[in-house]
Amino acid sequence: MNAANFKHALFCAFITLIISYPILGLNLVSAGTSMGLEGASTVTIIGIFMAVAVVFLFQLCRDSAMAKLGQLPRPDFTSNRPPMTEKTRLKIQNIVILTIILGASLWPFIASRGSIDLATLVLIYIMLALGLNVVVGLAGLLDLGYVAFYAVGAYTFALLSQYFGVSFWFALPVGALLAALFGLALGFPVLRLRGDYLAIVTLGFGEIIRILLNNWTSLTGGPNGIGGIPDPTLFGLEFGRRIKEEGNLSFHEFFGIAYDSTHKVIFLYLIALVLAALTFFAVRRLMQMPVGRSWEALREDEIAARSLGLSRTGVKLSAFTIGAFFAGFAGTVFASKQGFISPESFVFLESAIILAIVVLGGMGSQFGVILAAIAVTILPELAREFSEYRMLIFGAAMVLMMVWRPQGLMPMRRIHIELEKQE
């Protein structure tokens, strides 16, 4: 603990005071037409000074603490082991994923309605994250407006059902294809751009779509959204208590069981499960096909890949379009699950959350992404009591994760050779 450390610690503590006291310690209150100020509660003030003290002490003992921290063994279980061969990896993956799917398809019959609803949401996020994983994780294209394609899928279903009475099963491929078309149309001009520019352009595109949905009131209902989106049917069997469309039978009458509103929830969950599994297997298949290999090649070294004859635009465009396609899928399921959609559901934060899932899981790793999707969706629900602090913690967790474990929960590992550094 030398003088320089002490000075630095003092400075850091002072900065902490400056950035926390005015915002946290002085509350603005509106008094009639003008604004007044009010001191915060004693607890908050004590909290501020505790934070200042913690920062001071930490900075003071930083060097020794960091040295001790560096000596601790890192809990990284996979790093010493060479990656498995592709064949064994796929075999193990198959067993794991089939067990998971089997378990997940039996589970709703014993679970509560609320948790099935939540699980459907998790599955939608898994679909979205697996789709974005193609774009960001495999092809290395940073897409900050992914939610736009999700919105296209959802609004396609909502609008088709409102104006033409189209059913879920017809809207599902149409929504996904339309989202893919949007991806193609956006991707074609912008994929020449460098990484960060691409990120901003896609962000701008996402915002444009949202603003259009918000303001094109005559078509989309503007901020009021669209309601009354029909539920999916099982080969023409409806899940409502009463039949909405002529000629359809209802599920409970057909099977001669009592009406139960949980049937619909379970059915939706199963549809989402099937679609999520479809997404998983499709993407995994693509990863082993030449197109998937070229995504990764282009991500790793664009110049080398191009000199081997890969078409840059073609490869990137295929990733972008396929990613958008799965977002359209997820959007249709989402619209059907909610029964009501509005531009509120497609804000930038949603894109950020999906991106956070992909990065948290480990870019490119499908299992990691699934795990992260489950964690990011369920943890906030468990922390309901802290719902006020939910987004605060979410933001902080994103930063901490990037600082401490940027490779994600389960990073993708490939067989590779590392060249020894030459002296």
């Binding site: 902490t16 751009l193 990120a199 444009i208």
Partner: protein, 306 residues
């Protein structure tokens, strides 16, 4: 051609545009030096606006109402808090991830932006806060019968303060030792560190300068719009980033020019088309610029080396 309605939109556009330019400088300087998009910059600007409102309310409670004092103290308060925030953000969220894969700092920045938004949201509530009217009135031109162009005192203040800030920044960058070091670091970080420049300190300085200018913009635009809320940094940040890209990211004069162009095109859209679509126009403009001239108006073309 130059009718009074057009002139009015031009004045409004230049007012907003000069504030955008102030925010854009923060983006452009950081990008010029470490090549990352500081996503939390819009939140720093929002915190500047909040701090200045807190200071103004505090002064009002103390009974101080003389305008120059209120303005200067509010500016100082906002600048101090925001630049401390900028420094802390760089230290906590960006420095540990510097030099990693380019997605990592960006995601860290998005996380920081979400964090700061909710920090202010929790501390001050999500309601709109009314900014007190500090100055009223202005000049009007034109015939009494037809549409009159007005130039309010607030707009004049915004122009004057922006000009002072820009001039001070230009002198600082061009003349001072730190400014020269900033330019050196943005040209070649590794080389300047070899030549004995403390690059960590220069990068932190860049964040502090950007945050200070954003805080000034926060006070000015808060005054101009008359109300603030925890979310208003996000869109303004995006706009300012657009301005920075428009002018050529990494170039300070470019950020100033880009801000003005963006502000004018935005107010022309709201004046002649519809206010709801002004964001669409500015993002559309961004996309077009990036497609046809990715280096922006004043940016240097980048040579790709193998």
């Amino acid at each position: 051609m130059l009718d009074s309605y057009f002139l009015q939109q031009l004045i409004n556009g230049l007012t907003i545009g000069s504030a955008y330019a102030l925010i854009a400088i923060g983006y452009t300087m950081v990008y010029g030096i470490i090549g990352m998009i500081n996503f939390a910059h819009g939140e720093i600007y929002m915190i500047g606006a909040y701090t200045s409102l807190i200071v103004i309310s505090g002064l009002a409670a103390l009974g101080i109402a003389w305008l120059p004092v209120v303005l200067i103290v509010a500016l100082l308060g906002a600048v101090i808090v925001s630049s401390s925030m900028g420094w802390a953000v760089e230290r906590v969220a960006y420095r540990p991830v510097r030099g990693r894969h380019r997605l990592i700092p960006l995601i860290s920045a998005i996380g920081m932006s979400i964090f700061l938004q909710n920090y202010v949201h929790l501390a001050q509530g999500s309601r709109n806060m009314g900014f007190p009217t500090l100055m009223e009135g202005g000049f009007t031109f034109g015939d009494a019968g037809s549409f009159q162009t007005s130039l309010s005192y607030i707009q004049i203040t915004i122009f004057v303060i922006t000009l002072i800030c820009m001039a001070a920044l230009s002198v600082f960058i061009a003349r001072s030792k730190t400014g020269r070091a900033c330019r050196a670091v943005s040209q070649d970080l590794g080389m300047s560190s070899l030549l004995g420049i403390n690059t960590n300190r220069i990068i932190a300085t860049t964040f502090v300068i950007g945050a200070a200018l954003a805080a000034v913009a926060g006070l000015l635009l808060g005054m101009y719009y008359g109300s603030i809320d925890p979310l208003f940094g996000f869109i303004a940040g995006l706009k300012a980033f657009t301005a920075a890209v428009l002018g050529g990211i990494g170039s300070i004069p470019g950020a100033m020019l880009g801000g003005l162009i963006l502000g004018v095109s935005e107010s022309m859209t709201s004046g002649y088309l519809s206010g709801e679509y002004k964001d669409v126009v500015s993002f559309g403009l961004l996309i077009l610029i990036l497609l046809f001239k990715p280096t922006g108006l004043l940016g240097k073309p980048e040579v790709e080396k193998i």
